[in-house]
């Protein structure tokens, strides 16, 4: 049957899985639970594939269908409308595919955890919301998915809810996201006020003809785009709202892989790309996006240099890679951004899962300074990890080479300080390859820094390693769609995305091709530099030195958390304790309630003497009431009857 006509199936399947596990799973054996979850996700993946096939078969014509009304108020309509275009293809495939792999991985990783069913139910729920997000055809439905994934990430970060740090991290993620979401909603309101609809097709259709704001001009479009972008910074962990992502590593590693690396955090990028029409009308906003992205890329990379927790390193690298994507979007190369999104999904998921596998092998140890020399013990994991590292560092012919290269090229060619952006980006690339190889060496090579009598390192079971291999393969080949571009062929990926995002080609650049080649070479050099430095510092076994100076600053993440706490959280808490609680709540609200209560009691004291217990007296009181009631009802008739219409 034509899936496209029944697009709702794709998100619905995971929802069913979630419901089944969430409601019934608590007494089920693990096998049953994860078979349900896997069936749901797998079927969803297959139907997504089928949908893509039909989409391509139909000559890639934009598909959109309204399934049922959700909110209808006056002219406003927000329905359960799904759409399907090239961008959706990429996102859906990434989400379902990577999601499916990570589900498989989780069956191994979570095997011995409490709340197995809970985990998979949340995971499926996340899939549902994420798919709703990427399939949505209007901002409202997209926002539903947007909030939903936020919820799931909250639930999954706080999965080990007995650990205070975990719950705190969950709350932090949620609250920080709220800030972004608020801006996002403001943006939606502004859009509705301007276009009187929140439907993608309608808005972009209307936006097309409007002439663009110039740089530095803050028109409606610009403001709306900036607001949307603030939302994106929240969800996609950009400066200044990135702080929640590193803490989010409290969640189980598969979660970090799926939500906080591959899919959810890229939602911001997706939104920017989805509303590229608006952004193209708002150069200022674009510029801000580019700068923020670039800054984040560099900033996070620097922090990543010194972290000792393996997952923290990957977290910061995620932040910085997201920065790259925004940089790409910011300089107008949306397709490049999405391209990097896809490849990043592959290799970052791979890295996280391998890290998870390592942690698994180390029996829960996450500190890299307590690892080392694991290469021989867990070869498969190590090789996959190495694949991922090479990929992210951007060596030819691995995935990130093409995507990051495309972004940097676009940045280089962008007007208004493109060179600067390029330089910073390049520097960030160097840093990236440095901290990644640092991670590899600290983990797999050098001397063993753990106690072999307590830790029994073992390779993970097949259902964890197989996904690793698949992802490794993908992160090797993921970029080859753009391979021909090197020798002047065409970039299939951006070609494919062109209808949805407009051409990713940078216009008006002399001998663009040769220039791109040169830049690729430079990028390779940068990566190599990072590799060598890392090798120089960490190849021979090293002790964890005491950190001071710059190192200390980096190690404490520039004290950003402390700063936020001092500037935002502290005052807020003080305000709510001293003003809201002590004055408003205790004083006003409780005062009113208690006052009413005491008043009632007093009244009762005076009235209760009428309660003689004699039914006939009560009857008389009823009679009095009846009299008044009748008088009230019949007054309009009585007045003329009694007073002959005198009044």
């Amino acid at each position: 049957m034509p899936i496209l006509e029944h697009l709702w199936i794709i998100p619905l399947l995971p929802l069913l899985g979630a419901a089944t596990n969430g409601l019934l799973g608590w007494k089920w054996p693990n096998k049953l639970v994860h078979s349900v979850a896997l069936t749901a996700t797998g079927l969803s993946f297959l139907s997504a594939l089928e949908a893509v096939r039909e989409f391509v078969a139909s000559g890639q014509q934009f598909f959109r269908k309204e399934f049922f009304d959700w909110i209808v108020a006056g002219t406003f309509r927000a329905g359960f409308d799904l759409q399907f275009d090239e961008l959706t293809v990429v996102m859906v495939l990434v989400v379902t595919g990577v999601g499916f792999l990570i589900h498989i991985y989780s069956t191994g990783y979570m095997a011995h955890e409490e709340g197995y069913y809970r985990f998979f139910s949340y995971l499926n729920l996340f899939m549902f919301f994420m798919l709703t997000l990427v399939l949505a055809a209007n901002f409202v439905l997209l926002f539903v998915g947007w909030e939903g994934v936020g919820l799931c990430s909250y639930l999954l970060i706080g999965f080990y809810f007995l650990r205070k740090s975990a719950t705190d991290a969950g709350n932090k993620a949620f609250i920080v996201n709220r800030i972004g979401d608020f801006a996002f909603m403001l943006g939606m309101f502004l859009l509705f006020r301007t276009f009187h609809t929140l439907d993608f097709a309608a808005i972009f259709g209307q936006a097309g003809p409007i002439e663009r704001d110039t740089l530095g001009q803050f028109g409606v479009m610009t403001v709306a785009c900036i607001l949307l972008f603030v939302g994106a910074t929240g969800k996609s962990a950009q400066i200044p709202l990135y702080v929640w992502l590193p803490d989010a590593m409290e969640g189980p590693t598969p979660v970090s892989a799926l939500i906080h690396a591959a899919t959810m955090v890229t939602a911001g990028v997706y939104v920017v790309a989805r509303s590229h029409v608006l952004f193209q009308h708002a150069p200022t906003a674009m510029y801000i996006v580019a700068i923020i992205g670039c800054a984040t890329a560099f900033f996070a990379a620097t922090i990543g240099l010194v972290q000792s927790d393996i997952k923290k390193v990957l977290a910061y690298s995620t932040v910085s890679q997201l920065g790259y994507m925004f940089l790409g979007c910011g300089v107008g190369a949306f397709s490049a951004g999405i391209f990097h999104l896809m490849t990043h999904a592959f290799f970052k998921a791979l890295l996280f899962l391998s890290a998870g596998s390592v942690i698994h092998a180390m029996g829960g140890e996450q500190d890299m300074w307590k690892m080392g020399g694991l290469w021989s013990k867990i070869k498969v994991t190590a090789i996959c990890m190495l694949f991922g590292t090479i990929a992210i560092a951007g060596f030819f012919p691995f995935a990130a080479f093409f995507s990051k290269d495309a972004i940097l090229f676009a940045a280089f060619n962008s007007e208004h300080g493109g060179k600067g952006l390029y330089a910073v980006g390049l520097l960030a690339a160097v840093l990236t390859s440095f901290y990644m190889f640092r991670l590899v060496w600290l983990t797999f090579f050098g001397a063993k820094r753990y106690d072999e009598h307590h830790v029994h390192v073992h390779e993970s079971p097949w259902n964890m390693t197989v996904p690793l291999m698949i992802l490794a393969f993908l992160s090797l080949t993921g970029g080859w769609l753009a391979l021909p571009a090197l020798w002047g062929g065409k970039d299939y990926f951006s070609e494919f995305l062109a209808p949805a995002l407009g051409s990713g080609e940078v216009a008006g650049v002399a001998n663009a091709h040769s220039l791109e080649l040169k830049l690729s070479g430079v990028a390779m050099v940068a990566a190599t530099v990072g590799l060598l430095v890392a090798w120089r510092m960490y190849a021979k076994d090293v002790k964890q030195g005491k950190s001071e100076g710059l190192h200390k600053l980096l190690y404490h993440k520039y004290y950003v958390d402390e700063l936020y706490h001092a500037l935002v959280v502290g005052p807020l808490v003080w305000l709510s304790r001293n003003a809201l609680w002590k004055v408003v709540d205790v004083g006003m609200i409780d005062g009113t309630v208690n006052g009413i209560a005491t008043g009632t009691t007093a009244a009762g004291d005076t009235v209760r003497h009428q309660q003689s217990g004699n039914t006939r007296s009560y009857a008389v009181w009823v009679l009095v009431g009846a009299l008044l009631l009748f008088a009230l009802i019949f007054w309009p008739i009585l007045r003329p009857a009694l007073f002959g219409g005198v009044w």
């Binding site: 004699n614 039914t615 006939r616 009857a619 009846a626």
Partner: protein
């Protein structure tokens, strides 16, 4: 033909008498009867209206009232029997536990 007013007046009078009975009888059963009397008065008004306005709805209402009255009688008399058993009296003024 009889003006509808007459019926309404009659029903009003019966209702008033019902009220008087309700207040002045001491026997629980009789008080209950007073309630039935009031219900009947209302029924009369209902039928009169429905006939006058040519709408059968009024009579349907009467039927419902009758049904409810029957149910009420069943339960109420059950309660009365219990009261009489426990308090050895049918005088409402002796059934006065409901006070401070």
């Amino acid at each position: 033909m009889i003006p509808t007013n007459y019926y309404l007046l009659l029903s009003a009078i019966l209702f008033g008498l019902g009220i008087v009975a309700f207040v002045f009888k001491r026997n629980i059963i009789t008080i209950f009867m007073a309630i039935e009397l009031m219900l009947n008065a209302v029924n009369l008004a209902f039928v009169a209206f429905s006939q006058a306005l040519g709408k059968p709805d009024g009579e349907v209402f009467v039927l419902f009232v009758v049904i409810v009255a029957a149910a009420e009688a069943a339960v109420g008399l059950g309660i009365i029997i219990l009261t009489a058993r426990n308090r050895r009296s049918l005088n409402v003024e002796n059934v006065n536990l409901l006070k401070l």
